[in-house]
Symmetry: D2
Subunit: 346 residues, 4 copies
């Protein structure tokens, strides 16, 4: 049985496990004060070309979104997100549970229409009598790649920064799968760009080869007492080294990039096959997630050999299925998947 269900169905890249084993007996202070967290922070600052960045390590994406967003927002503020944003649907109400509304805008394959976002803000503040009765926008949340695997261009991110500046809103980029965005051929967005444009972003580990872990980067300055915010949200590991060692490995000898490139390359093979065979793709995703439209019969047949993820039902009865690659996707597996898809298409 093949599985292209997700990028979190295997363990960690072997180099990460190796480093965990090599360092296992060393005595290190707890709570992120260890030498490996320190080293990983330095390497991340270098990769971001941002020597003054503050870097923190958390365990997972929902935890990170919740902690970062609530650390920034005043009680009366909410976070802007496309309606498909992870914070809006699949985090069990983490944002609301920390007291904040998710202010939803339309989603265009997972992305904002930036003009639409700007008009929303203009209209909001134009209603001078009304808006003090309403939740104020307090942050722009953006995923990159989005939940649909799509990417912003550098120009779009600069426009988002412009909106953020005009309305004095912090710009937060959820990079749970950031590696894949950076490794997609043709993207013009780099880590230093993010460090220049975002107030805070994170470099996802869990879905890019680590056992667990997200590296949160504040290029300028973290909110006051951010460590305590983490603690309060249950986001501090006593053995903080577990995260430090992994990110230190990921940012040594380009491992993070290598993992992501491999996965995107395998995904591209799947896309090429789908195009050749005349499949419809639901979303023009160029990164490590592929969204293909199948008939229920095709879905059923595929399921005999391949584990995939059901994404959504279309009004015409067809089914959107996600296929996802990772560090562990073997080229032979991709080839076999492509053969199966080709057979199904006939």
């Amino acid at each position: 049985m093949l599985s292209f269900a997700s990028d979190y169905i295997e363990g960690a890249h072997p180099k990460i496990l190796e480093r965990l084993a090599e360092t296992n007996f060393e005595v290190q202070p707890g709570y992120g004060d260890d030498a490996y967290c320190a080293s990983a922070r330095e390497k991340i600052r270098a990769a971001c070309a941002c020597p003054g960045a503050e870097v923190f390590f958390l365990a997972g994406g929902t935890q990170t979104n919740r902690t970062v967003i609530s650390a920034y927002l005043a009680d009366t503020e909410g976070v802007l997100s496309p309606v498909t944003g992870h914070v809006n649907g699949h985090e069990g109400g983490a944002i609301e549970s920390s007291g904040h509304k998710v202010l939803c805008l339309p989603s265009h394959d997972g992305k904002y229409d930036i003009g639409e976002l700007r008009r929303y803000l203009e209209d909001f503040y134009a209603d001078r009598e009304g808006y003090p009765h309403m939740v104020q926008p307090g942050m722009i949340y953006v995923t990159h790649p989005t939940e649909y695997g799509t990417l912003y261009t550098l120009n779009e991110l600069e426009e988002l920064r412009g909106v953020a500046d005009d309305y004095d809103l912090p710009l937060f980029l959820d990079g749970a799968r950031l590696g894949y965005a950076l490794a997609t051929p043709g993207t013009d967005v780099t880590l230093p760009d993010l460090a220049r444009l975002a107030d805070v972003f994170y470099i996802g580990g869990t879905k890019v080869g680590a056992l667990l872990g997200e590296a949160v980067v504040f290029p300028k300055k973290a909110p006051k007492h951010f460590f305590t915010h983490m603690k309060q949200n249950g986001a501090v590991l006593a053995k903080g080294r577990v995260l430090g060692i992994q990110f230190d490995a990921l940012f040594t000898d380009g491992l993070y990039t290598e993992i992501a490139r491999h996965a995107v390359k395998e995904a591209q093979k799947i896309r090429d096959c789908l195009a050749r065979c005349g499949y419809e793709t639901a979303v023009p995703s160029p990164s490590n997630q592929v969204f293909v439209v199948l008939t229920p019969e095709q879905e059923e047949k595929l399921a005999r050999d391949v584990v995939s993820t059901f994404w959504e039902k279309r009004p015409d009865g067809k089914r959107v299925i996600r296929l996802c690659t990772s560090w562990a996707t073997r080229p032979e597996a991709t080839e076999r998947l492509c053969r199966i898809l080709a057979d199904l298409a006939e």
Copy 2:
């Protein structure tokens, strides 16, 4: 340099790392639905002699306390704790941040005086006009071993259960260091006792040999939608296998007990040495934490060779210092520590 600073300053017991490596390439579903979580659950149920228990795996203690407590309490309820309880001081306000007051009772070396607890509840409900204006007690929180390393007897836990029954309060036992309690010579408390007496308790992994992880056991029934409570609190790992594999290893061939017994034995050697040398201990802790009273001069000298944890200042100017053992404490290190302590005492 020796370190007895804590039980989370090394990595994981080697058998755990081995199992992570062995299973690394296997495809497993995410979010705790993997085969290792399933296997670990079964082994924990067996160890608790409680085949119907529901078991969940979370990453750390504060996260677990926050998630469990808020899943049980109604908005108007608070959690009872000795004033020294971990939830009251060292969790960055996690409980309050989820909306609940910690209702503090006096601490007796970290423990409740159970008669005092009962009187508190009697007095609370006796004030019929006043109490509807106040936070209602909604849960009894108890640590075992306590923050001071002390233990409840089986009889005391049964009395706590009696209070819980009389006031219809769930009894929650924080076992961040539970292994050490169960492995302390002379204790009459077993895992099946806890499964019989507590509504919910957890078996600490982070501080008992794992990289991270706590196994929460609901002997009867978990609160409705507990998984969603976890998700909302950022306590679900995408690669849930990371926790499942570790607890599976810990509950295979008695590893959990072996780790804890070793640490308690080494701690006992330190206590024996302290007694021989005439040191005062601040608390009669029998588990893996030792609290010794030093003069500032002794503390300073000790610090040249040994990392310990400063605990608290006493009114007489003396200093309470914690020395802590773990799976990784080598007998030779303990011996050297004892020699240093003996020298200091002269």
Copy 3:
């Protein structure tokens, strides 16, 4: 200058002020334990034909929505509402600030399409793998009249009850303007119907002739410790008599109905005039709110003589304006408004 800006721009119906003055020197216990709250509760129970109802008095609508909703919902649950529901937009994030998501459905002139609501719930629970990662629906919130002055029929409320029963969801009816709904000619919904169909509803005072106050009715049973929920939300007045006396007056000799009937009659005169003059109305509201579509020039001219409320801008550049009546609307004022509107239409 005439004002039809809202139903809260004058003080209270004179009979209410009279009763406040008559009872002013009486000694009464605080916090809602006074004789007037008791009497008002009895009269409300009688009006609802529900002798076992529990009745509480709060100060305002947002406070009531917040307190009731958070008293019912578990941490992982959200409240269903049409997107135009008051809880979703104009309460400053009160629901989210108490930890809960507002789960929005499309609005049809302020109302649910009940088939749509049912399908939403079906689809939600059909996604068995997904929904535990999402906020669970925990309550159906419905306004009557809606924010657009529209009404549900008895049949529709019975269908809503059916959905509520099928999914075991409490049904909460926000009646901030309930009087006007009950007093609208042609409605087939009565207070006893609400007591039969809703788990909780409130009878708005602030907008129906009182200085302030909402009477919350739980026909079967209030959530445990509801008084403490009120206290915690700052919704308990020390001089609870202030609310009891007002509701006692409102439910004496049919004053509540009389106030509402008067306002609806005056609003109907405005609607008749608008129809005669060929104005477009934005929403078919039959109660005390009238939503008329004006050109910007008409709006400007109207504003010379009449205070109204700007409601929303239409894509065609026209403006929706709300005109609202109350206990204090004098028939001569309505007549003058109609003459002005007739002049504007020419």
Copy 4:
């Protein structure tokens, strides 16, 4: 039957009701934008000699404490209070429900020992490794008069200000009964002093002659979006005039002072009688609350003729009883109470 149970057992001072009636038919905007709120704000600014103060009107004390405290505190911060502070015990967990811990210090007849407070803060920040794991002090809360009727001297308030400055903490003075403090003979604290020393304080209306209402004064600047904070906490009345008219009346021709002076004078008569008769008072309260120690037999006898409030049980079995005066306390009633107390003492 006499009642000295509290200062909220009668309605409002007659002049307030008069003004509500006189203004009843006037059209005024809602939500605090009316002419009476504006006028009351001006009069309060004048009384505080603080022309730049921002003034808001809320309905009650718990609501005000909750709204003000949560508007100031970051998520990781708590509020300092003597353990007897109203926010700590009798607000149903309002502070915790908004996410914040009440950080308790010992109470000395309801007051801080300011040296103790300073040492607490010194010790807190001295524990450099520990405090980031703990709730940070974010505000100093002080009641004046305290829950025990005691008062701070001007010198003490200046010392509190000094601590606030040294630790950059806002100083919040809960003045639910402020009038009585200002009207107590011998006090050297005035409204302009409070405006100079506090970052925010409130002038209680509910317990000083109004039907309901508290005037919150920010001498320098309110927290951003304070109106939205109020809205979110259910603390905005649609008919905001109800509060504006009352405070306008209270600050016209010295009514607020007159009400408070009268009550304190009557309370002083009771204290004089108690002293003459040899009663023990539990607390040296000089304002409108008197705390007398009675035997259970005396309490029982007193209860035949007088309603009082049971305060607390003493270890010696005696009972502390509160007697409280208000604007409505008639001198003849005080005289009769004194005769009864004199009889009881024999």
